[in-house]
């Protein structure tokens, strides 16, 4: 039996396959579609201080090997999350990582203050990178100084591991990763969605209401791998790889490039058991190739 467990600072994962924020709801929706406990962890839909309605429709548009979304952080808000969503998640034997978002640094702080007493939450992923809200989000992870300050502020109020989620819509993502590290983040996760756009040539309207939107799916995987590579090569911080991961081979590309864990996003919409299958496949792969621990693969890229 290969050892698939991974440690990211104080965060222990039984295996390196997580599901990505906003692509798995709050877990319970898929309970009959997959064995949730097979996953290394579940990253929740972004939680904000107040409930958010999200953007007007259309919010989604399909593209060749990808999709656009402009959900706009629609979520139930931190209080309802704690009262209605967390109890189900708490019963699971997988790591629960709360993804936290906000329009101001204070909002992140207030959300984490509310969540922090709940032991079932193993870590926070800080969504510094949502392209679909007017304020905050993206701006935070496009400026290293802001990234560092906000991370530091949150580092000071919680003992739990912090994972800064970074945007790919930036010249040098490694500068932001370095800033997150300097601010006290335990890890970075990337990528959030690329900014993309599509036009309905019949109506001459944008295909999603917000005009530009977040681009995800297999089509963004090459960009995600290049960004992960940039961070791995330049910053000494654990990296969680995200972007277009549909199967074990895709996940292996990220591990080999240097990601110590991966998150499955868009693939869940097509098959919410993608992560579960990947864990099984990874186990077989390791056993079949004489690999005792997942760490033997991580960063094994031959340059």
């Amino acid at each position: 039996m290969a050892d698939l467990s991974v440690s990211i600072g104080k965060l222990k994962l039984k295996n390196p396959v997580l599901v990505a924020s906003g692509t798995f709801g709050y877990g319970q929706e898929s309970r009959a579609l997959t064995d949730l406990n097979a996953l290394g962890g579940i990253v929740t839909k972004s939680v904000t201080l107040k409930r958010r309605d999200g953007n007007p429709p259309p919010r989604i548009f399909e593209l060749p090997a990808g999709m656009l979304n402009s959900i706009g952080l629609a979520n139930v808000g931190v209080d309802t999350f704690i009262s209605e969503k967390l109890p189900f998640l708490s019963e699971l034997s997988t790591a629960i990582i709360a993804n936290v978002a906000g329009s101001t640094p204070e909002e992140y702080l207030q959300v984490i203050e509310k969540l922090d007493e709940h032991d079932s939450i193993s870590a926070y992923e800080l969504n510094f990178s949502c392209p679909n809200v007017k304020q905050g989000g993206l701006a935070f992870s496009q400026d290293p100084k802001v990234t560092q300050q906000v991370t530091r502020m949150l580092r000071d109020i919680t003992e739990k591991p912090l994972i800064a989620k970074l945007t790919p819509n930036i010249t040098r993502v490694s500068e932001i990763a370095q800033a997150a590290k300097d601010g006290g983040a335990d890890a970075v996760s990337l990528i959030n969605t690329l900014v993309g756009m599509a036009v309905n040539t019949q109506t001459r309207k944008p295909q999603v209401h917000t005009v530009t939107a977040g681009y995800s799916g297999p089509a963004v995987k090459p960009v995600a791998l290049a960004k992960v590579f940039e961070v791995v090569q330049n910053v000494d911080i654990p990296v969680v790889g995200i972007g277009g991961i549909m199967n074990l081979n895709d996940a292996l590309e990220f591990f080999i490039t240097g990601a110590c864990a991966v998150q499955v996003g868009t693939a869940n919409f097509i098959d919410p058991s993608t992560g579960e299958k990947m864990v099984g496949g990874l186990n077989d792969y390791c056993n079949g190739n004489g690999i005792d621990a997942i760490s033997e693969i991580v960063g094994s890229l031959k340059l």
Binding site: G25, A32, L33, P56, P57, P58, I60, T266, D271
Partner: protein, 273 residues
């Protein structure tokens, strides 16, 4: 009515029939779980390809079920890449399907009169609705079918098994009553019968908008099945909002078509069509 949580099924194609020259198909799939645990108005989400493009599943209303034989049918039309692939389905092909999904029609016990109105492919969920109503009541049912042209009336044959009234309209007048289906419907509603009917409708957004108006005009209960682009079909992508005007729950402005719907009370939803 939500039944069990959605499951993933490998369904076997029992038949895939082209119903009309307008490329309308009826596909029968073997899946006892969906056949037995779904209610009318619910839908399934079909994995149309194993390729990365088309990437997402395609949603289709459950058109008819046979609980004993363990199959259900979907009625659909070729409109794009996914449905073009579906036209190639052959008997014994295995297709991955998630379902049953969503909240279907709400059939009050003791319902006495039901009017079912289908615009185009919106006819799809109505045969199952007939089955459901007849199982649960002895209601008097009338089905109004509105299509573009004669060939599309092949869909109306799906109601042949039921002992009900079928009113057929074609926009081009090539068969049945000429014009929009709302015309004879309004006449019928105007000639007030003693029992107020419940109006169930499904079809394109402009048509549904008209149905919402008609329900309120004649002050009858209306249930409409709406469509939306869907990322997942079971509530995890939050990509399928419909605006709702009933702010009973406070600040809520949107409900999700896939889990709160696709069937809504006609007074609740704000349509844009």
């Amino acid at each position: 009515m939500i039944c069990s949580p959605p499951k993933s099924h490998d369904c076997i194609v029992l038949s895939n029939k082209r119903l009309s020259e307008n490329s309308i198909y009826l596909t029968r799939l073997h899946c006892p779980d969906i056949a037995q645990n779904s209610s009318s108005g619910q839908f399934v989400n079909i994995k149309v390809s194993n390729e990365l493009s088309p990437l997402l599943r395609r949603p289709f209303s459950i058109c008819k079920v046979d609980k004993a034989e363990g199959w259900f049918e979907v009625l659909w039309q070729i409109v794009g890449r996914g449905t073009t692939l579906m036209a190639g389905y052959k008997v014994d092909d295995v297709i991955n399907i998630i379902g049953p999904l969503g909240h279907g029609f709400h059939i009050k016990s003791g319902i006495e009169s039901a009017i079912l109105v289908g615009g185009g492919l919106g006819i799809a969920p109505l045969p199952f609705l007939c089955q459901d109503i007849l199982e649960k009541s002895s209601a008097n049912i009338a089905v109004y079918v509105g299509v573009r042209t004669k060939a599309d009336l092949a869909m109306a044959e799906l109601f042949n098994d039921f002992d009900i009234n079928i009113i057929q309209c074609t926009e081009d007048g090539s068969a049945g009553i000429q014009g929009y289906v709302t015309k004879p419907l309004i006449e019928k509603l105007a000639s007030k019968s003693s029992v107020p009917p419940v109006l169930f409708s499904c079809g394109p957004e402009v048509f549904l908008k008209r149905m919402v108006d008609i329900s309120s005009e004649f002050d009858v209960e209306g249930q409409i099945s709406v469509e939306s682009v869907m990322g997942c079909g079971f509530g995890i992508c939050v990509g399928c909002p419909v605006e709702v005007q009933d702010y009973a729950e406070g600040e809520r402005k949107y409900k999700l078509t896939c889990i709160d719907g696709p069937v809504f009370d006609s007074r609740e939803v704000l349509l844009v069509g």
